[in-house]
Amino acid sequence: MRYLDEFNDPQLAGRLVEEIHATATRQWSIMEVCGGQTHSIIRHGIDQLISDQVELIHGPGCPVCVTPLELIDKALEIASRPGVIFCSFGDMLRVPGSESDLFRVKSAGGDVRVVYSPLDALKIAVENPDREVVFFGIGFETTAPPNAMTVYQAARRGVTNFSMLVSHVLVPPAIEAIMSAPNCRVEGFLAAGHVCSVMGTDQYPSLVERFGVPIVVTGFEPLDILEGIRRTVHQLEKGEAHLENAYGRAVPTEGNPAARKLLDEVFEVTDRGWRGIGTIPLSGWRLAPRYRQFDAEHRYDVGAIRPEESTVCRSGEVLQGHIKPHECEAFGGACTPRNPLGATMVSSEGACAAYYLYRRLGHQPRAHEVSGRV
Protein backbone atom coordinates (compact mmCIF):
# COMPACT_ATOMS: atom_id res chain seq x y z
CA MET A 1 0.00 0.00 0.00
CA ARG A 2 1.46 3.32 -1.01
CA TYR A 3 2.72 5.60 1.74
CA LEU A 4 2.80 2.59 4.01
CA ASP A 5 5.10 0.01 2.45
CA GLU A 6 7.91 2.48 1.78
CA PHE A 7 7.93 3.48 5.44
CA ASN A 8 8.22 -0.16 6.49
CA ASP A 9 11.37 -0.87 4.48
CA PRO A 10 13.73 -2.93 6.66
CA GLN A 11 16.81 -1.83 4.75
CA LEU A 12 16.14 1.85 5.28
CA ALA A 13 15.27 1.07 8.87
CA GLY A 14 18.70 -0.47 9.26
CA ARG A 15 20.32 2.74 8.13
CA LEU A 16 18.31 4.82 10.55
CA VAL A 17 19.26 2.45 13.34
CA GLU A 18 22.92 2.74 12.41
CA GLU A 19 22.63 6.51 12.37
CA ILE A 20 21.18 6.49 15.85
CA HIS A 21 23.92 4.15 17.05
CA ALA A 22 26.55 6.41 15.52
CA THR A 23 25.14 9.59 16.97
CA ALA A 24 24.36 8.67 20.56
CA THR A 25 27.14 8.91 23.08
CA ARG A 26 24.94 7.88 25.99
CA GLN A 27 21.47 6.56 26.61
CA TRP A 28 18.67 9.10 26.39
CA SER A 29 15.13 8.84 27.78
CA ILE A 30 12.53 9.69 25.20
CA MET A 31 8.79 9.49 25.65
CA GLU A 32 6.47 8.65 22.80
CA VAL A 33 3.12 10.14 23.63
CA CYS A 34 0.77 8.21 21.41
CA GLY A 35 -0.48 4.70 22.12
CA GLY A 36 -0.44 3.98 18.41
CA GLN A 37 3.27 4.70 18.38
CA THR A 38 3.75 2.44 21.40
CA HIS A 39 1.94 -0.29 19.56
CA SER A 40 4.15 0.06 16.52
CA ILE A 41 7.29 0.07 18.65
CA ILE A 42 6.35 -3.11 20.48
CA ARG A 43 4.97 -4.86 17.44
CA HIS A 44 8.16 -4.40 15.45
CA GLY A 45 10.57 -4.51 18.35
CA ILE A 46 11.96 -1.07 17.53
CA ASP A 47 13.00 -0.39 21.10
CA GLN A 48 15.20 -3.48 21.04
CA LEU A 49 17.14 -2.19 18.05
CA ILE A 50 18.28 0.97 19.84
CA SER A 51 18.08 -0.10 23.48
CA ASP A 52 21.56 1.09 24.35
CA GLN A 53 20.99 4.50 22.83
CA VAL A 54 17.40 5.21 23.81
CA GLU A 55 15.14 4.25 26.66
CA LEU A 56 11.66 4.61 25.30
CA ILE A 57 9.18 5.60 27.97
CA HIS A 58 5.65 4.76 26.88
CA GLY A 59 3.50 7.80 27.58
CA PRO A 60 -0.17 8.15 28.51
CA GLY A 61 -1.35 8.53 24.95
CA CYS A 62 -3.71 5.65 25.06
CA PRO A 63 -7.40 6.35 25.69
CA VAL A 64 -7.82 2.82 27.00
CA CYS A 65 -5.36 3.56 29.73
CA VAL A 66 -6.43 7.06 30.72
CA THR A 67 -10.23 7.13 30.43
CA PRO A 68 -11.31 7.80 34.03
CA LEU A 69 -12.65 4.88 35.99
CA GLU A 70 -15.76 6.83 36.83
CA LEU A 71 -16.57 7.23 33.17
CA ILE A 72 -16.03 3.55 32.46
CA ASP A 73 -18.44 2.74 35.28
CA LYS A 74 -20.97 5.17 33.81
CA ALA A 75 -20.56 3.52 30.42
CA LEU A 76 -21.19 0.12 31.96
CA GLU A 77 -24.29 1.36 33.76
CA ILE A 78 -25.75 2.88 30.60
CA ALA A 79 -24.85 -0.17 28.50
CA SER A 80 -26.68 -2.40 30.96
CA ARG A 81 -29.96 -0.59 30.51
CA PRO A 82 -32.59 -2.43 28.47
CA GLY A 83 -33.45 -0.57 25.31
CA VAL A 84 -29.98 0.93 24.97
CA ILE A 85 -27.66 -0.01 22.12
CA PHE A 86 -24.19 0.86 23.36
CA CYS A 87 -21.63 1.37 20.60
CA SER A 88 -17.91 1.58 21.11
CA PHE A 89 -14.57 1.29 19.42
CA GLY A 90 -13.07 -2.16 19.94
CA ASP A 91 -10.30 -0.75 22.14
CA MET A 92 -12.63 -0.08 25.07
CA LEU A 93 -14.42 -3.40 25.32
CA ARG A 94 -12.03 -5.06 27.75
CA VAL A 95 -11.13 -2.15 29.98
CA PRO A 96 -11.92 -3.05 33.58
CA GLY A 97 -14.32 -0.84 35.47
CA SER A 98 -14.70 -1.08 39.23
CA GLU A 99 -16.48 -4.41 38.94
CA SER A 100 -17.12 -5.26 35.34
CA ASP A 101 -16.39 -4.39 31.73
CA LEU A 102 -18.35 -4.04 28.50
CA PHE A 103 -17.82 -7.68 27.58
CA ARG A 104 -19.41 -8.88 30.78
CA VAL A 105 -22.25 -6.43 30.29
CA LYS A 106 -22.77 -7.98 26.88
CA SER A 107 -22.75 -11.49 28.30
CA ALA A 108 -25.38 -10.42 30.79
CA GLY A 109 -27.64 -9.37 27.93
CA GLY A 110 -26.57 -5.81 27.18
CA ASP A 111 -26.64 -4.77 23.51
CA VAL A 112 -23.01 -3.77 23.10
CA ARG A 113 -21.69 -3.30 19.57
CA VAL A 114 -18.24 -2.64 18.17
CA VAL A 115 -18.14 -0.02 15.42
CA TYR A 116 -15.36 1.26 13.20
CA SER A 117 -16.64 4.84 12.98
CA PRO A 118 -18.91 7.02 15.15
CA LEU A 119 -21.00 7.52 12.00
CA ASP A 120 -21.86 3.81 12.17
CA ALA A 121 -23.34 4.42 15.61
CA LEU A 122 -25.43 7.29 14.26
CA LYS A 123 -26.59 5.01 11.45
CA ILE A 124 -27.67 2.43 14.01
CA ALA A 125 -29.65 5.15 15.78
CA VAL A 126 -31.41 6.19 12.59
CA GLU A 127 -32.22 2.57 11.77
CA ASN A 128 -33.50 1.80 15.27
CA PRO A 129 -35.74 4.74 16.16
CA ASP A 130 -37.34 2.87 19.05
CA ARG A 131 -34.01 2.28 20.78
CA GLU A 132 -31.64 4.62 22.54
CA VAL A 133 -28.18 4.57 20.97
CA VAL A 134 -25.16 5.72 22.95
CA PHE A 135 -21.65 6.04 21.53
CA PHE A 136 -18.56 5.96 23.72
CA GLY A 137 -16.70 8.99 22.42
CA ILE A 138 -13.17 8.56 23.68
CA GLY A 139 -9.86 9.51 22.18
CA PHE A 140 -7.36 12.28 21.71
CA GLU A 141 -7.51 15.17 19.28
CA THR A 142 -7.32 12.81 16.31
CA THR A 143 -10.67 11.21 17.07
CA ALA A 144 -12.40 14.39 18.23
CA PRO A 145 -13.26 15.79 14.77
CA PRO A 146 -15.02 12.55 13.71
CA ASN A 147 -16.91 12.50 16.99
CA ALA A 148 -17.76 16.20 16.65
CA MET A 149 -19.01 15.73 13.10
CA THR A 150 -21.22 12.87 14.22
CA VAL A 151 -22.90 15.00 16.88
CA TYR A 152 -23.17 17.88 14.43
CA GLN A 153 -24.89 15.66 11.89
CA ALA A 154 -27.19 14.18 14.51
CA ALA A 155 -28.25 17.71 15.40
CA ARG A 156 -28.76 18.75 11.80
CA ARG A 157 -30.82 15.69 11.03
CA GLY A 158 -32.87 16.05 14.16
CA VAL A 159 -31.99 12.59 15.45
CA THR A 160 -33.46 12.31 18.93
CA ASN A 161 -32.39 8.84 20.05
CA PHE A 162 -28.61 9.32 19.81
CA SER A 163 -26.13 10.53 22.41
CA MET A 164 -22.42 10.39 23.07
CA LEU A 165 -20.54 9.67 26.28
CA VAL A 166 -17.60 11.99 25.78
CA SER A 167 -14.16 11.64 27.28
CA HIS A 168 -11.73 13.43 25.04
CA VAL A 169 -8.25 14.21 26.29
CA LEU A 170 -5.62 16.62 24.99
CA VAL A 171 -1.91 15.99 24.46
CA PRO A 172 -0.21 19.30 25.34
CA PRO A 173 -1.60 19.47 28.92
CA ALA A 174 -0.47 15.87 29.38
CA ILE A 175 3.06 16.75 28.31
CA GLU A 176 2.94 19.66 30.70
CA ALA A 177 1.81 17.51 33.58
CA ILE A 178 4.49 14.92 32.89
CA MET A 179 7.28 17.46 32.63
CA SER A 180 6.11 19.25 35.77
CA ALA A 181 6.23 16.13 37.92
CA PRO A 182 9.18 16.11 40.33
CA ASN A 183 10.68 12.77 39.34
CA CYS A 184 10.34 13.26 35.61
CA ARG A 185 12.94 11.35 33.63
CA VAL A 186 11.84 12.38 30.15
CA GLU A 187 14.48 14.19 28.11
CA GLY A 188 12.68 14.43 24.77
CA PHE A 189 9.25 13.83 23.24
CA LEU A 190 7.93 12.21 20.12
CA ALA A 191 4.73 14.16 19.58
CA ALA A 192 1.72 12.31 18.21
CA GLY A 193 1.71 12.76 14.45
CA HIS A 194 -1.98 12.37 13.75
CA VAL A 195 -2.95 14.62 16.63
CA CYS A 196 -0.85 17.26 14.90
CA SER A 197 -2.46 16.50 11.55
CA VAL A 198 -5.58 17.93 13.15
CA MET A 199 -4.23 20.51 15.60
CA GLY A 200 -1.10 21.65 13.82
CA THR A 201 2.15 22.23 15.64
CA ASP A 202 1.69 25.65 17.24
CA GLN A 203 0.94 24.31 20.72
CA TYR A 204 4.40 22.84 21.13
CA PRO A 205 7.01 25.66 20.89
CA SER A 206 5.88 27.04 24.25
CA LEU A 207 6.39 23.62 25.83
CA VAL A 208 9.83 23.33 24.26
CA GLU A 209 10.76 26.69 25.66
CA ARG A 210 9.28 26.15 29.08
CA PHE A 211 10.82 22.76 29.73
CA GLY A 212 13.87 22.87 27.47
CA VAL A 213 13.18 19.52 25.82
CA PRO A 214 13.21 18.65 22.13
CA ILE A 215 9.80 17.78 20.72
CA VAL A 216 9.68 16.02 17.36
CA VAL A 217 6.36 15.48 15.57
CA THR A 218 6.55 11.79 14.63
CA GLY A 219 4.54 9.36 12.52
CA PHE A 220 3.66 5.74 13.17
CA GLU A 221 5.38 3.48 10.72
CA PRO A 222 8.72 2.00 11.82
CA LEU A 223 10.75 4.39 9.65
CA ASP A 224 8.76 7.35 10.96
CA ILE A 225 9.37 6.37 14.56
CA LEU A 226 13.07 5.74 13.99
CA GLU A 227 13.36 9.10 12.24
CA GLY A 228 11.61 10.87 15.09
CA ILE A 229 13.98 9.22 17.53
CA ARG A 230 16.99 10.01 15.36
CA ARG A 231 16.18 13.70 15.23
CA THR A 232 15.52 13.82 18.96
CA VAL A 233 18.86 12.14 19.70
CA HIS A 234 20.63 14.57 17.39
CA GLN A 235 19.21 17.50 19.31
CA LEU A 236 20.00 15.99 22.67
CA GLU A 237 23.59 15.24 21.66
CA LYS A 238 24.02 18.84 20.59
CA GLY A 239 22.37 20.15 23.73
CA GLU A 240 19.60 21.72 21.69
CA ALA A 241 15.87 21.85 22.25
CA HIS A 242 13.47 22.85 19.55
CA LEU A 243 10.36 21.70 17.75
CA GLU A 244 10.86 19.62 14.63
CA ASN A 245 8.36 18.08 12.24
CA ALA A 246 9.48 14.63 11.08
CA TYR A 247 6.04 13.77 9.68
CA GLY A 248 5.70 16.53 7.10
CA ARG A 249 3.78 14.40 4.64
CA ALA A 250 0.77 14.30 6.99
CA VAL A 251 1.33 17.35 9.17
CA PRO A 252 1.13 20.86 7.78
CA THR A 253 2.00 23.48 10.40
CA GLU A 254 -1.57 24.71 10.52
CA GLY A 255 -3.09 21.24 10.91
CA ASN A 256 -6.65 20.97 9.64
CA PRO A 257 -8.48 24.31 10.01
CA ALA A 258 -11.84 22.87 8.95
CA ALA A 259 -11.61 20.25 11.69
CA ARG A 260 -10.53 22.82 14.29
CA LYS A 261 -13.47 25.04 13.38
CA LEU A 262 -15.94 22.24 14.01
CA LEU A 263 -14.18 21.31 17.24
CA ASP A 264 -14.65 24.89 18.49
CA GLU A 265 -18.32 24.66 17.60
CA VAL A 266 -19.13 21.30 19.15
CA PHE A 267 -16.72 20.95 22.07
CA GLU A 268 -15.48 23.09 24.92
CA VAL A 269 -12.36 22.65 27.02
CA THR A 270 -12.82 21.18 30.48
CA ASP A 271 -10.82 19.71 33.31
CA ARG A 272 -10.39 15.97 32.85
CA GLY A 273 -9.45 13.12 35.10
CA TRP A 274 -6.75 10.85 33.70
CA ARG A 275 -6.96 7.39 35.12
CA GLY A 276 -3.98 6.69 37.29
CA ILE A 277 -2.72 10.26 37.04
CA GLY A 278 -5.46 12.45 38.42
CA THR A 279 -7.20 15.58 37.22
CA ILE A 280 -5.23 17.70 34.79
CA PRO A 281 -6.82 21.14 34.41
CA LEU A 282 -8.19 22.07 30.99
CA SER A 283 -6.97 18.81 29.54
CA GLY A 284 -10.12 17.55 27.89
CA TRP A 285 -13.14 18.33 25.81
CA ARG A 286 -16.82 17.96 26.55
CA LEU A 287 -19.84 18.79 24.45
CA ALA A 288 -20.67 22.48 24.28
CA PRO A 289 -23.90 23.61 25.96
CA ARG A 290 -25.84 23.88 22.72
CA TYR A 291 -25.26 20.18 22.09
CA ARG A 292 -26.16 19.12 25.58
CA GLN A 293 -29.07 16.96 24.46
CA PHE A 294 -26.51 14.70 22.79
CA ASP A 295 -24.46 14.40 25.94
CA ALA A 296 -25.06 10.97 27.46
CA GLU A 297 -23.90 12.14 30.88
CA HIS A 298 -26.81 14.58 30.96
CA ARG A 299 -29.27 12.31 29.27
CA TYR A 300 -28.80 9.43 31.66
CA ASP A 301 -28.92 9.93 35.35
CA VAL A 302 -26.50 7.23 36.30
CA GLY A 303 -26.83 7.87 39.98
CA ALA A 304 -24.03 7.67 42.46
CA ILE A 305 -21.05 5.99 40.86
CA ARG A 306 -18.45 5.01 43.41
CA PRO A 307 -15.41 4.09 41.38
CA GLU A 308 -13.13 1.69 43.15
CA GLU A 309 -9.68 1.49 41.73
CA SER A 310 -7.42 -1.32 42.80
CA THR A 311 -5.33 -0.11 45.71
CA VAL A 312 -2.43 -2.11 44.43
CA CYS A 313 -2.37 -0.90 40.84
CA ARG A 314 0.35 1.61 39.97
CA SER A 315 -0.51 2.23 36.33
CA GLY A 316 -0.45 5.97 36.84
CA GLU A 317 3.20 5.84 37.77
CA VAL A 318 3.89 3.60 34.80
CA LEU A 319 2.00 5.94 32.47
CA GLN A 320 4.14 8.86 33.52
CA GLY A 321 7.32 6.88 33.23
CA HIS A 322 8.14 7.04 36.95
CA ILE A 323 8.40 3.30 37.31
CA LYS A 324 8.80 0.40 34.94
CA PRO A 325 6.07 -2.23 34.96
CA HIS A 326 8.19 -4.89 36.63
CA GLU A 327 8.88 -2.52 39.51
CA CYS A 328 5.24 -2.80 40.57
CA GLU A 329 4.71 -5.42 43.26
CA ALA A 330 1.62 -6.82 41.55
CA PHE A 331 3.30 -7.25 38.18
CA GLY A 332 3.18 -10.81 36.91
CA GLY A 333 1.53 -12.09 40.06
CA ALA A 334 -1.73 -10.52 41.08
CA CYS A 335 -1.75 -8.55 37.84
CA THR A 336 -1.42 -10.29 34.48
CA PRO A 337 -3.13 -9.79 31.11
CA ARG A 338 -5.65 -12.42 32.19
CA ASN A 339 -6.28 -10.76 35.53
CA PRO A 340 -5.56 -7.11 34.86
CA LEU A 341 -5.76 -4.77 37.82
CA GLY A 342 -5.36 -1.68 35.70
CA ALA A 343 -5.73 -0.51 32.16
CA THR A 344 -2.03 -0.67 31.30
CA MET A 345 -2.19 -4.44 31.56
CA VAL A 346 -5.29 -4.67 29.37
CA SER A 347 -4.45 -2.53 26.44
CA SER A 348 -2.35 -4.07 23.70
CA GLU A 349 -0.11 -1.02 23.86
CA GLY A 350 -0.22 -0.70 27.60
CA ALA A 351 3.31 -0.69 28.96
CA CYS A 352 2.55 -3.43 31.48
CA ALA A 353 1.05 -5.84 28.96
CA ALA A 354 3.99 -5.27 26.64
CA TYR A 355 6.49 -5.85 29.40
CA TYR A 356 4.71 -8.99 30.49
CA LEU A 357 5.23 -10.60 27.13
CA TYR A 358 8.93 -9.88 27.06
CA ARG A 359 9.46 -10.82 30.65
CA ARG A 360 8.21 -14.30 29.80
CA LEU A 361 10.93 -14.50 27.21
CA GLY A 362 13.43 -13.91 29.94
CA HIS A 363 14.10 -10.31 29.09
CA GLN A 364 16.23 -9.19 31.95
CA PRO A 365 15.93 -5.51 32.80
CA ARG A 366 19.27 -3.85 32.34
CA ALA A 367 21.15 -2.50 35.31
CA HIS A 368 20.24 1.09 34.65
CA GLU A 369 16.58 0.23 34.34
CA VAL A 370 16.36 -0.94 37.93
CA SER A 371 18.80 1.43 39.53
CA GLY A 372 16.37 4.28 39.09
CA ARG A 373 19.08 6.39 37.60
CA VAL A 374 18.31 9.98 36.61
Binding site: M1, R2, Y3, L4, E6, F7, D9, L12, G14, R15, L16, E18, E19, H21, A22, T23, A24, T25, R26, C34, G35, G36, Q37, G61, C62, P63, F89, Y116, S117, P118, L119, D120, G139, F140, T142, T143, P145, P146, M149, R156, R157, A192, G193, H194, V195, S197, V198, F220, L223, E227, A246, G248, R249, A250, V251, P252, N256, A258, A259, L262
Partner: protein, 104 residues
Protein backbone atom coordinates in the same frame (compact mmCIF):
# COMPACT_ATOMS: atom_id res chain seq x y z
CA UNK B 1 -5.82 7.04 19.36
CA UNK B 2 -4.03 7.52 16.16
CA UNK B 3 -4.55 4.60 13.85
CA UNK B 4 -4.95 6.47 10.59
CA UNK B 5 -4.19 4.75 7.34
CA UNK B 6 -3.28 6.21 3.93
CA UNK B 7 -5.64 5.60 1.01
CA UNK B 8 -6.34 6.85 -2.48
CA UNK B 9 -9.52 8.70 -3.37
CA UNK B 10 -11.27 6.92 -6.23
CA UNK B 11 -14.70 8.54 -6.27
CA UNK B 12 -16.25 11.57 -4.64
CA UNK B 13 -19.98 11.90 -4.03
CA UNK B 14 -22.52 13.52 -1.77
CA UNK B 15 -24.70 11.75 0.71
CA UNK B 16 -27.69 13.42 2.39
CA UNK B 17 -25.42 14.74 5.08
CA UNK B 18 -21.95 15.13 3.77
CA UNK B 19 -19.23 14.97 1.17
CA UNK B 20 -18.07 11.38 0.88
CA UNK B 21 -15.40 9.46 -0.97
CA UNK B 22 -14.68 5.88 -1.87
CA UNK B 23 -11.10 5.41 -0.72
CA UNK B 24 -8.90 2.57 -1.92
CA UNK B 25 -6.57 1.13 0.70
CA UNK B 26 -4.53 -1.11 -1.56
CA UNK B 27 -7.45 -3.18 -2.81
CA UNK B 28 -9.75 -2.59 0.14
CA UNK B 29 -12.43 0.02 -0.47
CA UNK B 30 -14.16 1.98 2.22
CA UNK B 31 -16.57 4.88 2.31
CA UNK B 32 -14.94 7.86 3.96
CA UNK B 33 -16.31 11.24 5.02
CA UNK B 34 -14.48 14.03 3.21
CA UNK B 35 -15.93 16.99 5.09
CA UNK B 36 -12.60 17.87 6.72
CA UNK B 37 -10.60 17.78 3.49
CA UNK B 38 -13.25 18.96 1.01
CA UNK B 39 -10.87 20.02 -1.74
CA UNK B 40 -9.33 16.57 -2.08
CA UNK B 41 -9.33 15.34 -5.67
CA UNK B 42 -9.75 11.88 -7.13
CA UNK B 43 -6.31 10.28 -7.35
CA UNK B 44 -4.97 12.09 -4.30
CA UNK B 45 -3.98 10.33 -1.10
CA UNK B 46 -5.33 11.01 2.35
CA UNK B 47 -4.97 9.57 5.84
CA UNK B 48 -8.18 8.12 7.22
CA UNK B 49 -9.12 7.70 10.86
CA UNK B 50 -12.39 6.06 11.96
CA UNK B 51 -14.02 6.67 8.61
CA UNK B 52 -12.90 10.30 8.17
CA UNK B 53 -10.23 11.82 5.93
CA UNK B 54 -8.08 13.98 8.21
CA UNK B 55 -5.32 15.29 5.95
CA UNK B 56 -4.10 15.25 2.42
CA UNK B 57 -0.86 13.31 2.12
CA UNK B 58 1.88 15.47 0.68
CA UNK B 59 3.69 13.47 -1.96
CA UNK B 60 6.63 15.84 -2.23
CA UNK B 61 7.28 15.69 1.48
CA UNK B 62 7.05 11.91 1.46
CA UNK B 63 9.53 11.59 -1.38
CA UNK B 64 11.92 14.01 0.31
CA UNK B 65 11.81 12.01 3.51
CA UNK B 66 12.43 8.73 1.70
CA UNK B 67 15.31 10.27 -0.24
CA UNK B 68 16.81 11.44 3.03
CA UNK B 69 16.65 7.91 4.42
CA UNK B 70 18.15 6.48 1.27
CA UNK B 71 21.10 8.81 1.50
CA UNK B 72 21.77 7.89 5.08
CA UNK B 73 24.58 5.52 5.57
CA UNK B 74 25.96 6.30 2.14
CA UNK B 75 27.02 9.76 3.14
CA UNK B 76 28.52 8.43 6.35
CA UNK B 77 30.55 5.89 4.49
CA UNK B 78 31.95 8.51 2.21
CA UNK B 79 32.44 11.43 4.49
CA UNK B 80 31.85 10.31 8.04
CA UNK B 81 34.64 9.92 10.53
CA UNK B 82 34.98 6.20 11.25
CA UNK B 83 36.99 6.93 14.41
CA UNK B 84 34.24 9.07 15.82
CA UNK B 85 31.84 6.30 15.07
CA UNK B 86 34.05 3.67 16.67
CA UNK B 87 34.43 5.80 19.77
CA UNK B 88 30.76 6.45 20.07
CA UNK B 89 29.96 2.79 19.60
CA UNK B 90 32.35 1.96 22.40
CA UNK B 91 30.44 4.37 24.56
CA UNK B 92 33.19 6.90 24.78
CA UNK B 93 32.54 10.58 24.30
CA UNK B 94 33.91 11.44 20.91
CA UNK B 95 36.31 14.15 21.98
CA UNK B 96 38.20 11.72 24.17
CA UNK B 97 39.58 10.01 21.13
CA UNK B 98 42.65 11.84 20.04
CA UNK B 99 42.46 11.96 16.33
CA UNK B 100 46.09 12.71 15.81
CA UNK B 101 47.04 9.65 17.83
CA UNK B 102 44.89 7.02 16.26
CA UNK B 103 44.54 8.15 12.71
CA UNK B 104 47.22 6.57 10.57
Amino acid sequence: MCLAVPGKVTRIWRSDDSLMADVDFGGVLKEVCLEFVPDLQVGEYTIVHVGFALQRLDEESALETLALFAQMGELDLEFGDPWERAASEAGLPVDVVSKTEVRP
